[in-house]
């Protein structure tokens, strides 16, 4: 935790509330993401996970306090905020007819003058991230010709060229096969190590979440019902209660740590 460190946390959320019309989506949410850590928000469908990420990104109005790197979110200008937080949405919009290179370049927007064009430095950063994510051979291809795994990497590349120290990942493994899921999460680990990025993500796959993230927050019906390390949040009793199905949590045996459903196994 950040107690002994002088660096302010990447994210501090206090008593956050979000309403949409008369419905309360998030209620009294408190959460902290220490710098360099990976906090994963888990919870059943409709719990408000995506809304929480959008609130932290400053994209929707909310009550309560959100601090990014020790500074209130509402004191950031739009472009300044986008230089601190990059969002990878769950289902990114795929613009019609533009190339991978043109798409990744959009991530430099908060670093450019409003009507300005990219300088050589921006072009170099775009090229470097395209290389890092193994997309060089795809750079001139059209976005709509990519596979799901390639497109997800392209979206990550767009977020990385934002050079924001905080990365918000909304279900980053959705629609990927097992191999691509693991490679995606390993990539996020590597980014934390090499760039010191802080990560706040949502994830449905509790086994993968438990193996990669440092800390967890369980969101249920708009409230945080458990926070802490894996042993506290991803506990069989807690999960079973909030996800509405019985699970077992397997210890570090031969197959490693895993959350598995109890029902359905007829073998």
């Amino acid at each position: 935790m950040s107690g002994s460190e002088s660096r302010p946390p990447a994210v501090v959320v206090r008593r956050l509330g979000v309403r949409r019309g008369s419905a309360s989506i998030l209620h009294d949410v408190t959460l902290e993401v220490p710098q360099g850590s990976w906090v994963c928000v888990v919870g059943p469908n409709g719990a408000g996970k995506t809304t929480l990420l959008h609130a932290v990104a400053g994209l929707i109005p909310s009550d309560g306090e959100i601090d990014l790197f020790g500074r209130p979110l509402d004191r950031f200008g739009r472009r300044e905020r986008a230089r601190h937080v990059a969002l990878v949405p769950q289902q990114p919009v795929i613009p019609d007819g533009i190339t991978v290179g043109e798409y990744v370049r959009l991530g430099r927007t908060p670093h450019l003058g409003v009507f300005g064009a990219e300088r050589p430095n921006d072009v170099a950063i775009v090229a470097a991230e395209i290389d890092r994510l193994d997309l060089r051979s795809a750079a001139d291809r059209r976005l709509d010709s990519l596979s799901g795994g390639e497109f997800q990497r392209v979206v990550i590349a767009r977020a990385l060229v934002q050079e924001a120290p905080l990365l918000l990942l909304d279900e980053p493994t959705t629609g990927l096969d097992l191999g691509h899921q693991v490679r995606m999460l390993e990539l996020v680990q590597e980014l934390r190590r090499t760039k010191g990025m802080s990560v706040l993500s949502t994830m449905h796959d509790l086994t993968l979440a438990g193996r990669f993230a440092d800390r967890f927050a369980l969101l249920s019906q708009g409230r945080i019902v458990a926070t802490g390390p894996r042993s506290v949040v991803l506990d069989a009793a807690v999960i079973s209660e909030h996800f509405g199905t019985s699970v077992r949590v397997l210890g570090a045996g031969e197959a490693g740590w895993a959350v598995v459903p109890v029902s359905g196994d007829t073998g």
């Binding site: 230089r83 043109e102 959009l106």
Partner: protein, 337 residues
């Protein structure tokens, strides 16, 4: 990079070609070499060109070609811009009540305006009408539930257009003697284009197209949708307002001197996308170049095909527009699929 530069070079070459064709086409024959020499000597009459030929070039053909070019560029650029901010490939310059407003303005001017200042009053009334139409649509769209969404703006445009068209019909009904005049104006007219029209349209179009050109990179950002564009630091509502104002200014100026010439704002941006991809960094400048060329050439057809009569230019663009509309429909179908 090479493809992008190539497309721009092609656009410039085609524009120069269209300009020459526009100057040479007509009942009075003028040799291409003479026309070139006349153009390059900036209007001083070279030997070999008669007084009458020089007058035809200077007072009839050149202003007409320039007005056609300005109008084509304005409609194409604003069509591309509307398609970007409304994220709808079928959006066209007349979307937000600009056409209906211009129609009402022109009808009012024809019906009640001073006949002595007719040539000036109609374009001015059409210009103001177009801007008023867009302003009403924008205000109405924003006041609705979820005033930031593009759908409510488009619905606002539809409502305003219906209302203004009804008002126009009512006036025409009561003053049926003006029907023919209003009708020929609505079908699009470049037949009377002169230097006055250049003076009326050029400043607004130049300012508006410059603003749109400055926004070309941001139009690419908005293509990723409102939420993601905001997450990249873009003030989407503000950009949309700036672009709508600029595109409507260009449209109003075009309508005021040329009447309603439909489909240019759909044909050219979609054609350009096929040529050079969908990034607005290419689409916007290329729409200006090819839009100008396109309307100059269509006008040549309009005035030569059934000479000495003229086909209303709006009729030709509508004929050409239908296939492109289908093309746009197919592309948008793929996008939502």
């Amino acid at each position: 990079m090479t493809r992008r530069t190539g497309a721009i070079v092609l656009g410039v070459v085609v524009l120069i070609g269209a300009l020459l064709v526009g100057l040479l086409a007509g009942p009075v024959h003028i040799a291409p070499a003479d026309a070139m020499r006349w153009l390059l000597s900036f209007g001083r009459r070279p030997p070999g060109l008669s007084e009458q030929q020089a007058t035809i070039l200077a007072d009839l053909r050149l202003p007409r070609v320039i007005v056609a070019g300005i109008v084509g560029a304005a409609l194409s650029a604003s069509g591309a811009a509307y398609q970007a901010v409304f994220r709808n490939p079928l959006a066209d310059p007349y979307l937000l009540g600009a056409a209906a407003g211009a129609g009402l303005g022109a009808t009012l001017a024809v019906t009640f305006g001073p006949s002595s200042a007719f040539a000036f009053a109609v374009p001015l009334a059409a210009f103001l009408g177009a801007l008023a139409g867009v302003g009403l649509a924008y205000g109405l769209g924003r006041s609705g539930v979820g005033g930031r969404s593009t759908t409510s703006l488009i619905l606002g445009g539809v409502a305003v257009a219906s209302f203004l068209t009804a008002a126009q019909t009512l006036i025409q009904q009561q003053r049926s003697e003006t029907l023919r005049q209003v009708y020929s104006w609505i079908l699009g007219r470049l037949g009377t284009a002169g230097w006055d029209d250049v003076r009326i349209a050029l400043p607004s179009v130049a300012i508006a197209v410059t603003i749109l050109w400055l926004c070309r990179r941001l139009l690419d950002v908005i293509e990723v949708g409102e939420l993601e564009a905001e997450s990249l630091g873009l003030h989407v509502a503000r950009l949309r307002l700036v672009v709508v104002v600029a595109a409507s200014l260009a449209t109003a100026a075009a309508v005021s001197v040329a009447g309603l010439i439909g489909f240019v704002g759909i044909i050219i941006p979609h054609g350009v996308r096929l040529l050079a991809g969908s990034s607005y960094r290419q689409v916007l400048p290329l729409s200006v170049l090819f839009g100008a060329s396109f309307l100059i050439l269509v006008d040549v057809v309009a005035r030569t095909a059934v000479a000495p009569a003229e086909i209303p230019i709006g009729v030709i663009t509508a004929f050409l527009g239908a296939p492109f509309f289908l093309l746009a429909l197919r592309r948008s179908g793929r996008r939502t699929a």
